[in-house]
């Protein structure tokens, strides 16, 4: 089914969160006011991407990362057009120009910067095509989106949007039950670690903010980032005395209520 819309209404961070949680494979196409971009994913991890008509070949990425000099770059461009990125990567590693780690690190940095630039797009359209797989001729990465999602949240400048997401600070956080996510593997900022240390269904965001001397926007931003990264989820704070629930049939005994609802079910079935 369709996964398309406008970035103004459904931002990049929400999209990446969706792709991450649904472990999607396919390509996300973005069209901004001035240029286009695409990001390819495999099982919820970023594999490759392109920004506008920018040269995203391995040679260009290594040259920009200063792993190749201008002469080497020019030679590769002149002679290496028949080679795809995988073949070129192998050749460069075997010839000792670069190490495998340097290739992967340069690609990773390029992709992270690409996504960071996309975070500045507040308008534009998007669509996700699950039929379009990550490109075969490129060295595909398996970049976990959790850190990118945290970064995206850090870049959110719209206080109103944060207030919209977390209207009340009388709400608590708890860790999500996802064994594949280990909080120790995340690159958290000092503030995020501080908040993580207070996460407990008994502590409201207001209490955590008071304890850490954070303002409302700061605690909202940190909490939103952690939720978007899938590390934690919101919970209503535990209350010492459970509130009695009033169901909608006044003056009826529990048995009468059950009987009434069964009657309604029968009636709806017969419509």
């Amino acid at each position: 089914m369709a996964l398309r819309g406008n970035l103004k209404d459904f931002g990049l961070n929400q999209l990446l969160n969706l792709i991450h949680l649904a472990k999607k494979t396919g390509t996300l196409f973005l069209e901004g006011p001035r240029t286009k971009a695409w990001l390819a994913f495999r099982e919820g991890k970023l594999a490759y991407g392109q920004y506008g008509d920018e040269d995203n070949s391995l040679a260009a990425i290594l040259y920009n990362a200063r792993k190749l000099n201008a002469h080497q770059f020019r030679l590769i461009k002149e002679r290496g057009n028949s080679m795809n990125d995988k073949e070129l990567g192998l050749l460069l590693v075997n010839a000792g120009y670069v190490s495998q780690q340097e290739v992967l690190a340069s690609l990773q940095e390029y992709m992270l910067n690409l996504v960071k630039r996309l975070y500045t797009w507040l308008e534009g359209s998007f669509h996700f095509d699950s039929e379009r797989l990550p490109p075969n001729d490129k060295i595909n990465l398996r970049l976990n989106l959790e850190n990118l999602l945290l970064e995206g949240a850090r870049q959110l400048k719209e206080i109103e949007q944060l207030q919209d997401e977390i209207p009340s600070l009388d709400i608590a956080l708890k860790f999500r039950e996802r064994p594949e996510t280990n909080v120790r593997n995340l690159r958290l900022s000092k503030e995020e670690w501080q908040v993580v240390s207070f996460i407990n269904p008994k502590n409201t965001l207001k209490q955590i903010a008071q304890a850490l001397r954070m303002n409302e926007t700061e605690i909202r931003r940190v909490a939103y980032g952690l939720v978007q990264a899938g590390v934690v989820e919101f919970v209503r704070p535990e209350r010492p005395i459970p509130q009695p629930v009033t169901l909608g049939i006044p003056n009826a005994t529990p048995q009468e209520q059950v009987s009434l609802v069964r009657k309604i079910i029968q009636r709806i079935r017969s419509l």
Binding site: M1, A2, L3, K8, F10, G248, I249, R267, I268, L271
Partner: protein, 179 residues
């Protein structure tokens, strides 16, 4: 005569009025008015107070379906409508992701009014632009225990299924309390 109430809520143009019309045995008592704001002109009219449909269960019991206005500036009606409800349905337009955040906010508001059972109905699932339920669950941040049901508000069977799923939840809740 006992009257029982269920509420149908959700963002503007989610299909609440149609949902009630599809199963109500009376012409829905509608409070639709012509839309004046240009930004909201995706349809000709909108509900400003409430929609009101009825299903007679037997000579002693009547089920009323109340539809809330979708626009925030009429939200003073929501708390009044939620009083004494058996449960509620949050309608979401599956083709308009820009309304998902609003839907989540309405859901939270109604949960705060009354901790009664609820289901989320993903309307317009028959359209090709509709988001999949799996994607909507993530976008709406619905826990896996929340019932998110496919819905086509113009289709009687589909509307019946949504109502029945809500009633099963209500029954489950009441049986727990009765034992």
């Amino acid at each position: 005569m006992r009257t029982v109430k269920m509420v149908v809520t959700g963002p503007f143009n989610a299909g609440k009025t149609q949902f009630i019309k599809t199963v109500s045995e009376i012409d829905v008592v509608s409070t639709e008015r012509k839309i004046t704001r240009e930004s909201e002109r995706v349809k000709e009219t909108t509900t400003v107070a409430m929609d009101f449909g009825r299903i007679t269960v037997d000579e002693d019991v009547v089920l009323y379906l109340f539809g809330t206005p979708g626009q925030r500036r009429f939200d003073f009606m929501w708390e009044i409508l939620s009083e004494g409800m058996l449960g509620f349905i949050v309608m979401v337009d599956s083709c308009r992701p820009e309304t998902f955040r609003e839907a989540r906010s309405i859901l939270e508001t109604f949960r705060a009014y009354a901790p009664t059972p609820y289901v989320v109905a993903a309307n317009k699932q028959d359209l090709k632009e509709a988001w999949s339920l799996e994607d909507m669950r993530i976008a709406l941040r619905l826990n896996s225990t929340v019932k998110l049901l496919p819905c086509v508000a113009t289709d009687k069977e589909s509307v019946k299924t949504v109502l029945l799923e809500l009633l099963y939840l209500v029954l489950e809740e009441m049986e727990k309390r009765a034992t």
